[in-house]
């Protein structure tokens, strides 16, 4: 063993003073470079105090520090007391404001800083109402649903106030309906009693008019929420019978 070691050393030992110098310097410099490299990479990997660390806590911190967009729903009440109290007394009670109005953290931050301009609230479109209130397989029977094709759906908010869920009262037709020309003859744009701007502007059939304006339509029906039997049964809801032109 010792002989082998001596032979090995004899075969590699530097042959001159210059060789010693070069060899020693090379080994020392190499050791220093390797030491710094190992230390730096280990520090990068495991030091929790360095930003670029692969340390877990530093990563969890990054996840925890991400920006939010949704505020806490309970915060809305602080300013919007009126709307909140209206909402609280009706069937939409308990639904967070942001469900319909979208993320509100930016709005809340702006309001807290006293900025009122630009803190606009997104107004929900029909699509938001339809998401929940369209008759759909699998939807629990506790949800009041409609079949959009059979409902006057162009603008839900024209008739319904989602904060109360009451529908506005469409006037019930007071004059007799039998033996009359089409509704738009008198209530069209050129008629003597034109419809107001809440109505769709296009041509309408009489049946479409009567969906809202026949006797018995309006809030009375909504106060008696009869769940659609077709939904709980899971079958496709059958089309509602088209309203007769004859008032009941």
């Amino acid at each position: 063993m010792r002989t082998r070691a001596r032979r090995f050393w004899a075969s590699v030992r530097p042959r001159s003073r210059r060789g010693w110098l070069i060899g020693t310097t090379g080994v020392l410099v190499g050791a220093a470079v390797i030491a710094v490299a190992i230390f730096a990479s280990a520090a990068m990997a495991w030091s929790p105090y360095l930003d670029f660390a692969l340390h877990r806590d530093s990563n969890a911190k990054q996840w925890a520090a991400l920006d939010m967009s949704f505020a806490a729903s309970s915060d809305c009440v602080a300013c919007h007391l009126t709307e909140a109290s209206r909402l609280a007394s009706h069937t939409h009670a308990g639904i967070g404001c942001q469900s319909c109005h979208g993320p509100m953290l930016a709005h809340e931050d702006a309001a807290k800083r006293g900025i009122t301009t630009g803190a606009a609230i997104a107004m929900p479109t029909d699509a938001v109402c339809i998401r929940c209130h369209e008759a759909t397989e699998g939807r629990p029977a506790t949800i009041q649903t409609i079949v959009p094709a059979n409902h006057y759906v162009s603008q839900c908010l024209q008739c319904h106030d989602p904060h109360t869920t009451w529908a506005l009262h469409p006037p019930v037709v007071s004059h007799p309906l039998a033996n009359l020309p089409p509704c738009l003859t008198c209530h069209g744009p050129d008629g003597f009693k034109a419809r107001n701007e809440r109505h769709p502007s296009g041509p309408l059939t009489d049946n479409e008019c009567l969906q809202c304006h026949q006797a018995g339509r309006g809030p009375q029906q909504l106060t008696l929420p009869t769940p659609q039997p077709t939904v709980s049964g899971g079958a496709v809801p059958s089309p509602q019978p088209s309203p007769s032109k004859v008032a009941p």
Binding site: F8, G23, F39, D57, P103, T136, E137, G138, R139, G234
Partner: protein, 338 residues
Amino acid sequence: MTEPSEPLDRLEPLDQPQPAVGEPSAPPAEPAVAGATAPGRAAATAGEAPADAVLVPLEAIAPAIRQASLSRRAFLGFGLALAGGVAGAAVLGQLFPVFASAGDQVSPLVPNYDPATKAWTFVVDTSKCIGCGLCVVACKEENHVPESAAFTRTWVERHVTMTDGTVYVDSPDAGINGFPPTSTAPGAGGKTVKSAYFQPRLCMQCADSPCTSVCPVSATYTTQDGIVLVDARRCIGCGYCVVACPYGARYITPAGEDTPAGTPGVADKCTWCYQRISKGQQPACVEICPVGARRFGNANDPNDDIRTAALAAGARPLHPEYGTQPRALYLGPALQES
């Protein structure tokens, strides 16, 4: 490469087996060197060489000797430098204490947030879900999840059971636009529906999660409060966790405007809105759910209604047979099917 003009007598003979040139049949274990041109050194080694050594002129094997000496020196030098480097790194580690030790109080993730006291629990009530898909919208908005429906952290499925017993599952665009009136699953049309329900899905944050155990670079891990997170700086995007997750909760982030961790090509998954829950907020999908089908709370807190309202009601994990111990629990018809 050494210069060929280097005088040969500056080389030491080697004990390395040197088969003689032109004599391939020479026993390879015999040292085949001699010092005809370097008498002094030959005398030093002659005593150790076996008597029947085949002697060849030193010139003939000079390149080999030179090369062997060089590579030995390189080997020795590198070994010394490496050993010195390791020792030096250890010394540096002592001089600059940048490493956390067990006694160190690592700075808290968020001020006033103590993850050790939390046992976050998510309860999904499938009897309440109406399939509006607002949770999917909120998740994409809150977490910058890619727009494409193929990459979703949370989604809603509709399970429709027909009268003939077959179950059809559909999730058009992951439910982000809500659901059409009837199932879009191929083959479901024309059959009579017996029952149907919606099943919101998200990462189950399993206590014994396959995704963390299979990760080859430990990029995904479980935090102290039980959330499974992905370190986007460490993930290599191999997709093993995507394949291994029995709940299909993961995807590889595509490049694009929305990348949750700001890094494309890494695994991503639901974090239960870690940025929110660590600040005392509810996850965005819980915040937005209009019917309270999603609930979230700390099961360690005796005042949290997650204990009374959900856990006491018998919430259980989906597919417990995977044995991953999910922290997300389910109520309602999903349990019967699972």
